[in-house]
Assembly symmetry: C2
Homo-oligomer: 118 residues x 2
DNA sequence: TTGACATGAAACCAAAAGGTGTTATATTAT
DNA sequence: ATAATATAACACCTTTTGGTTTCATGTCAA
């Protein structure tokens, strides 16, 4: 179920939201406390928190009249996994060959370079 | 210099652009070839490529009447570095303590929980 | 040289993003 | 009870996104 209107990739695309995550990495914070770190309105911050919440990157629970937000970094694993695919390309050039040799040795390496000509 | 109007985080926020990157991970491709993998117009794909290019995630060179795009994954290291900060929070709960003990043993752990009350 | 092909560029559009301000409601402190 | 606080819920606005269509330009093949 876990409301997924907003993708984790989209959630972290905004610099303000990334900064919010940084703040919450240190402490759980109420909306007003978070707002004090920015120059934008409290309402705007609340919207960012709502988006982060939809991506399950934060959770908020009401405590008295405050709503305390808490970091939930688990969805970031999706980004990490996505990134992992590309690491082979920048770690070192040999790793590309290594990947091909280990995962398919049916001549696909040749295909990789000529596919687009067909 | 490296034109930076578009952030790498924003560039990868769009699912279509992530799919384009996947295609280019296999082969260098011309715009039309990329377009054939989607249901959107060639112009729309060209715009996505432009955004990816601004984030330096791809480079394009003209070959005859075609423009061949090539994956440049290096900017993804920025995302990787950003993610690294949060890994301590999901790997396992003990790693938080481990981090604190290894990097500063001046009682900061206590501060982490009370900062927001000051 | 003429047509077909690949891209570039411009004008336009609807919807979403990122903001704002106002008003209403619940909670705490006096 | 009353005033102050913290947030929620709206209504509204402007800019950006992601897409379209149309037209122009450069290149290749006959």
């Amino acid at each position: 179920m876990t409301a997924a209107k907003h993708d984790v990739f989209q959630a972290i695309a905004d610099p303000t939201r990334r900064e919010v995550l940084r703040l919450l990495a240190n402490n759980d914070l109420a909306i007003s406390e978070i707002t004090s770190h920015f120059s934008i309105s409290r309402t705007a911050v609340a919207k960012h928190l709502h988006i982060l919440s939809e991506a399950n990157l934060v959770s908020g629970k009401k405590v008295g009249r405050e709503k305390i937000y808490h970091l939930q970094p688990e969805p970031l694993t999706e980004v990490k996994q996505w990134l992992a695919y590309y690491e082979q390309f920048w770690n070192n050039k040999l790793s590309i060959l290594k990947h091909v040799v280990e995962n398919d040795n049916e001549g696909r390496f040749e295909d990789r370079k000529t596919d687009h000509l067909k």
